[in-house]
């Protein structure tokens, strides 16, 4: 395993998150390693079931165990492994140094409590702020994320906000303690495109302002192209390719990354032909194929792909790929 670089704020090493199913084991995350560097946006891309959300939830130890268990893995932050630290200590980190926002703010916010209660609680717990100071701080953060009339709106309940505004409330809540890493799990997937553009611009602004790193989990390559510095592509619980955003889009090496790029319609390109769809279906994580997990859908698969699962190979200092055939890529 590579040693984390000095500007690394979070290092995930050989993380495995398995679930006990009925008579079998579901390998949701199967040996994932990545670094999150100070101030960068790392995008984790993949389709549903690729393990991208579970990987992030596991990094914050938010997957209930049981049913989940970790046969291996370390999540290093400030020289300590989050996976083995006492519950009380990780609770102190979550919502403070490490924060997370979700796709659906309505299920992440408590419908019974006002926004004020939910926001001030964060500051009272992590910063021991007085109620009055916490309320002032919460109002100024709501203003910062673009909620008009925040001093009045703070006493509303989540259902009184629109979808885009709720997402802003959740972002405000996550950023109250100025985290070092913000995990954003499909933060704009449920929003209309014009609102998505607002939220992405807001996250980018706040990231620069606070110098925090963002781990952006998404299936949308357009969002990745606009927001990410580095990209990790996940398939069947593993990272199959990792590189800078330029490397991934200009020189994709893994056949899955290429397939994903080719199958995405591009609004600024005048094509009317067929989209290059990837044949077949993503594998069932309870019954992964032998060898490379992508091999049944891969047009470059050869015999050795069906025998052993490929290891990550270094291409450039920033570009890694897990494919036996990538070296001979045209």
């Amino acid at each position: 395993m590579t040693r984390p670089a000095t500007d690394t704020v979070l290092a995930v090493r050989d993380l495995r998150t398995f679930f006990h199913g009925e008579g079998h084991v579901v390998k949701a995350v199967d040996g994932v390693s990545f670094d999150v560097r100070r101030g960068e946006t790392l995008a984790i891309v993949g389709e549903s079931g690729s393990g991208k959300s579970v990987a992030c939830l596991s990094a914050l130890r938010l997957v209930p165990s049981p049913p989940a268990f970790h046969p291996s893995g370390e999540v290093l932050h400030g020289g300590r492994d989050l996976l083995v630290m006492p519950e009380r200590e990780i609770e102190r980190l979550r919502g403070d140094r490490l924060a997370m926002i979700f796709q659906d703010p309505l299920s992440a916010l408590n419908p019974y409590l006002t926004v004020a209660r939910q926001l001030t609680e964060v500051l009272e717990v992590h910063r021991s702020a007085s109620p009055a100071a916490a309320r002032r701080e919460a109002i100024s953060m709501l203003e910062r994320v673009g909620i008009a009339d925040a001093a009045h709106r703070i006493d509303h309940h989540p259902h009184q906000f629109s979808g885009g505004m709720r997402q802003r409330v959740m972002i405000a809540m996550a950023l109250l303690c100025r985290p070092e890493v913000l995990f954003a799990d499909e933060p704009t997937t449920a929003l209309d495109v014009t609102i998505q553009a607002q939220i992405l611009a807001l996250v980018a602004e706040l990231r620069r302002e606070l110098g925090m790193a963002v781990v952006l989990v998404t299936h949308d390559l357009g969002v990745v192209a606009g927001a990410a510095d580095r990209v990790a592509v996940m398939y069947a619980g593993r990272i199959v390719e990792e590189g800078t955003v330029e490397e991934i889009f200009a020189r994709p090496l893994h056949p899955y990354t290429r397939g994903l790029l080719a199958s995405t319609p591009q609004i600024d390109m005048p094509d009317r032909g067929l989209l290059a769809a990837i044949p077949g279906l993503p594998p069932d994580p309870a019954h992964l194929p032998v060898g490379c997990p992508f091999q049944p859908r891969c047009d470059r698969a050869v015999d050795r792909c069906r025998q052993a699962s490929p290891q990550m190979a270094v291409f450039t200092t920033s570009h890694r790929v897990a494919c036996l055939e990538a070296g001979e890529a045209p």
Binding site: T194, I195, Q196, H219, A225, A250, I267, R272, P282
Partner: protein, 337 residues
Amino acid sequence: MSDDAPPLLEVRDLVVRFDVVTPGGPWGRRRTLTAVDGVHVSVRRGETLGLVGESGCGKSTTGRAVLQLEKPSAGEVIFDGRPIHEWWVQRWGGWRWDHRLRDLRRRMQMIFQDPSASLDPRMTVEAILAEPLRNFALASGSERRGRVQRLLEIVGLDPRFIRRYPHQFSGGQRQRIGIARALALEPDLIVADEPTSGLDVSIQAQIVNLLGRLQQELGLTMMFIAHDLATVRHVSDRIAVMHLGRIVELAAADRIVTAPLHPYTQALVAAVPVPDPIRERARPRLVLAGEPPSPLDPPAGCPFHTRCPVREERCRRESPPLRTVAAGHEVACHLVD
């Protein structure tokens, strides 16, 4: 596709209103929501018309009202020269289709967004696909089974799967079953309402390709409703952009994307991210401030003026009509010459 031939479908000043109850008072407040507010569009034979817009803009309700799955409150829907909006009768305390509409149903079918909700979980694929054939007495016995198997082949599923249930298929495969069911009666018109929205990118491409192939092979006329402008552009000949129940711009698909005239279309196109970091970061940013207005409480004047970056005084007062500004290009904006 000839421009002189009469269109297969003509929608004239279509209005759909719903009675809704909103909070207020001990029993709530009864209000009228105008979901579709004067949609005017025609679809030529063999053409795919894309209908795009954000959530709540009335695009799905338009599609449902075209097929008479919602009774239009006003306006006309002319299908193949017939005024099908009139083919309703009042019976048992509600509006029902009359027999003519029931018969015509063969020729107009719908593909829904969520195939897990639109396929009966207790029916086998064979029963699902045979039901329309049985309803219209089109085939019986072994002939029916043969047609069901052929339908599965057409949509790219293994015909041996006919005894399986919907839950035994993946999301993409279920959408193929939904498409097969829509094709079972060999319709002329298909309204596809967000047929790829719930699917993964690689599967979306499969379904988009399938719909494109079927449209060409079977000469289908299609109304493709979606919020994703990149996909709509890929499948459509022309695109109608909807905002708050109205069409604000209508033109050839390439024109809508490369030379949009309405400020809302311009913002919508600019907001669709391009999957290429160099091109995406070089594109002009045009982020709309604010949120779409509620259809329960539409603003006076132009419905877009609350978010419009180029609004003028008259936009607050007068609602602009949809008018032709160039051959085949219609726009509803005061500021477009």
